[in-house]
Symmetry: C2
Subunit: 512 residues, 2 copies
């Protein structure tokens, strides 16, 4: 009886008891720093649509990605598990990687398929292609009904034209790989992808998917993994030279425009009151790109590090009538998104394996406390011998190891530099992140013996109990693993060029 | 005829043509950094009232104080003129200074007295006392009808109890000076000032002044110059240990509470639609105080420098129905406040002397462009031989000189350190502040020859034409110049102790 009352209370609070299952939209930016949005303090970013989302939603100030780099961060996001469990370590997938997210992992999309959701991903997948294995690692084999996107970072292919109509890209991209492939499902429909229209292509697919599904009784899950604001930045006619913040600002403005189109579609199709939207990013800014990298605000260092600037991200949750507009200092993380979405959808978080995420519903819907008071920071290239570099417990963060990053810059503090090698700290370096978010003033560990003891013990236990998945980064590969719209053509890889085919963005497709 | 049309148009836009003159409230924080408020990106500050002000008002992202330290910044604020003109250089006034803001300067209060305003200042004056000269430099001789406050920084006296009920202050204060005097008009009514009730004392005076004047037809000008968030931080029973940000957060929360009380009074007395409120601060954070200093967000260095962190400040303008909620990247400065207030009050900006400020009305009331596309940065201790250290022109900032600060910290970059002496740059160091707000990536001056040429020329002209006022800092003084409630008592200065007298916060006072 008591259980029934508790259950009814929860359901009333969440408002998910009756009616259609909520639609879910996950917006994920690339290399966007904690300080890049106006609502997080950037003085010259222009993001009216994200500002509106923030004004109407819940803004996190202590929200973490699972890694300072792409692939592991995305693996953790989609599985609710640290990347070490799924084998997405060390580092990231490249264009010619042969590994990918193992099929025995359960993604958010697979959780939601069980609940009858239509599922789609638009954008950067970066969890493997398996090009010589029938594209077995692409999203359509991981719970997504539909995929449109470049399956990895767009600097992993030779980048040529980034700005409408024909202006070259800034920064160097990899030149020995095949041109950037744009996949639809498991077909390359354009190679190289056209950056001057890419945001519109992604956005059209996203809004078409929303419109289509808003007309049916089927709930949907849409995951938009933007290539923006990763380098090389690109922009369409509408956004090139549009921002006073320069090239990075143009990229951010185009991302924001896309977010605006998606919200506009959610509102105009009448599903706003039953749609949960979450915005965050994969890792901190690529400082080595200088003014064309992002900005970590007041945090220390950026992409590729376990300092706050590498892994603390903007994060905004939106669901009118269910989530109250506010700012929260409660702890959250991308691994928490799967359990949270499972709750929202009335679905099941896998119970046959360790899940690192916790349900954020109390924070989102009840103005309550986080179910986590800890977080573990893996470096970009973790190893079982070392384990996590740092651990947060309540307001404290202990560094057992520190290291700079290839994404550092000599203009930032020395700790961020690539030349700053791995250093072990025993006793750990201890910081109070609530009073010292910039990790500038190490605490006297003698005065915090109890904290150091607790945090060391929990870290050792976590490292001891971690079961490391076989590394997918070490799967043997060759240049043939690089996606090519004309396999076996010559001269490889420059011959891999195809004009855009017809997208299935119409009613003949099972999705559209 | 055309003039009439233009005039009518402006008046319609501003809405100040008819009816009572608007009331004006100027809120001024102490040592508050660009990154200290939640609305400017701080993750753990709690400022609900300033957040509301920001939500309803215009938030500046490119707003400058006139100096990296107190007295000169306040002189420029109140006169609309760089501190060099009024002689408030080099450095700041101390407890035993004998100089002060010259009487031939025209303050905002004096401009508004001419327009029939009731005027009051509550808080930190820091423009001289003249204790042995009948307190001639106190606000009541500078256009203010009423003054309540400590007339300088509260670390310029021996600080003892900072937190309710009897907890000591952090940080060292000056011990050889008289205890902090609390003046009402020209009488010391309490010595030492009670920090555990000071915010409430200030706030009660401010709200009493608003209430009193809201009942009359006389418009009013209220200048609240908070001691918060300058070190040593202090807090009442309600706010000690109230913030997850620690001691600095407690101080900031108490400041925010006071701002809330003032807004509550403005609203409850029915004058919200005819009251202009402006919030900003005197200079950047005192980094040497570490977690008890403020935070400059993504800007470089802090208090005492001419880097952005020393002089770019949070700034919010509020006037419901007249100022639209927005964020602006237009340039503004504290010297612009006098001309702006003069316009709002239908008053006169002095024409018999150079005024450095420009009217911000186009930005505030028309969503228009700033009348300034330049700004000059004087160091904390300027000299006629050197002149300005840096000049902003449009998005560019050229440093002709750089120097660290006594308010720096070894935990920040070397450029901020006290040990970093004055360095001359020829050609100047050039930055693009819109793309590189952190002043990290110097531009190639060869590629920006035209910019360097323009900015050098305008700087040389400005320096050449500057007429330096006689330094008020060099006026000869002795310990007798320190305010003491029992002059000539012994042992001096510790004998200068008086319990709080009765404040004139009642109807018998000309103001209350």
């Amino acid at each position: 009886m008591l259980l029934c009352v508790v259950f009814a209370f929860c359901c009333v609070l969440h408002g998910f008891a009756s009616g259609a299952k909520p639609n879910i939209v996950l917006l994920f930016a690339d290399d966007l720093g904690f300080g890049d949005l106006g609502v997080y303090g950037h003085p010259t970013s222009t993001t009216p649509n994200l500002d509106t989302m923030a004004k109407e939603g819940l803004v996190f100030t202590q929200f973490y990605s699972a890694s300072g780099v792409c692939s592991p961060s995305r693996a953790a996001l989609l599985t609710g598990r640290y990347q070490t469990r799924s084998g997405i370590w060390p580092g990231v997938f490249g264009a010619n990687s042969a590994g990918g997210l193992p099929h025995n992992e359960t993604t958010i999309a697979e959780v939601l398929k069980e609940e009858g959701y239509a599922t789609a991903i638009v954008g950067k997948w970066h969890l493997g292609v398996g090009f010589t294995k029938n594209n077995t690692y692409l999203p359509i084999h991981q719970g997504f009904d539909y995929y449109l996107g470049i399956p990895y970072s767009h600097d992993m292919c030779p980048c040529l034209i980034c700005f409408y109509p024909d202006q070259p890209c800034f920064d160097k991209c990899r030149t020995s790989e095949t041109p950037c492939p744009l996949f639809e499902n498991s077909t390359i429909i354009q190679q190289p992808a056209d950056f001057t229209t890419l945001a519109a292509t992604y956005t059209n697919a996203a809004t078409a998917f929303i419109r289509k599904n808003s007309e049916s009784d089927q709930p949907f899950f849409l995951y938009v993994a933007y290539q923006h604001t990763h380098h090389p930045q690109f922009a369409s006619k509408q956004f090139r030279n549009s921002s006073i913040r320069g090239t990075f600002g143009d990229s951010l403005s185009e991302l924001d425009w896309s977010v605006g189109q998606i919200f506009e579609t959610i509102r105009s199709t009448g599903i706003a009151n039953n749609t949960f939207v979450f915005f965050t990013a994969d890792n901190g800014p690529s400082l080595t790109r200088q003014v064309r990298g992002g900005n970590q605000g007041l945090l220390k260092c950026g992409k590729g590090t376990t300092y706050e600037g590498g892994m603390r991200e903007p994060a905004i949750a939106w669901m009118p009538g269910k989530i109250k507009p506010a700012r929260t200092t409660e702890l959250g993380a991308t691994v928490d998104i799967l359990p949270t979405i499972a709750t929202i959808a009335g679905g099941k978080t896998p119970t046959d394996r360790p899940i690192d995420g916790v349900d954020m519903s109390p924070i989102l819907f009840e103005g309550g406390q986080s179910r986590r008071d800890y977080y573990y920071y893996y470096p970009k290239s973790p190893s079982p011998e070392i384990g996590v570099y740092a651990t947060r417990y309540k307001q404290y963060k202990a560094f057992f190891y520190t290291q700079g990053s290839h994404c550092g810059s000599p203009y930032y503090d020395h700790d961020c530099w690539e030349s700053t090698r791995q250093a072990k700290h025993d006793p750990p370096l201890l910081f109070d992140l609530l009073q010292d978010p910039s990790e500038k003033y190490p605490l006297n560990v003698e005065a915090y013996k109890d904290v150091v003891s607790v945090i060391t013990e929990m870290t050792e236990k976590f490292n001891r109990e971690m079961v490391w998945g076989t590394s997918e980064m070490h799967v043997k590969s060759s240049s043939a693993d690089q996606p090519c719209c004309k396999p076996n053509c010559k001269p490889f890889p420059t011959c891999c060029v195809c004009k855009q085919g017809r997208l299935h963005l119409d009613k003949s497709s099972p999705i559209f």
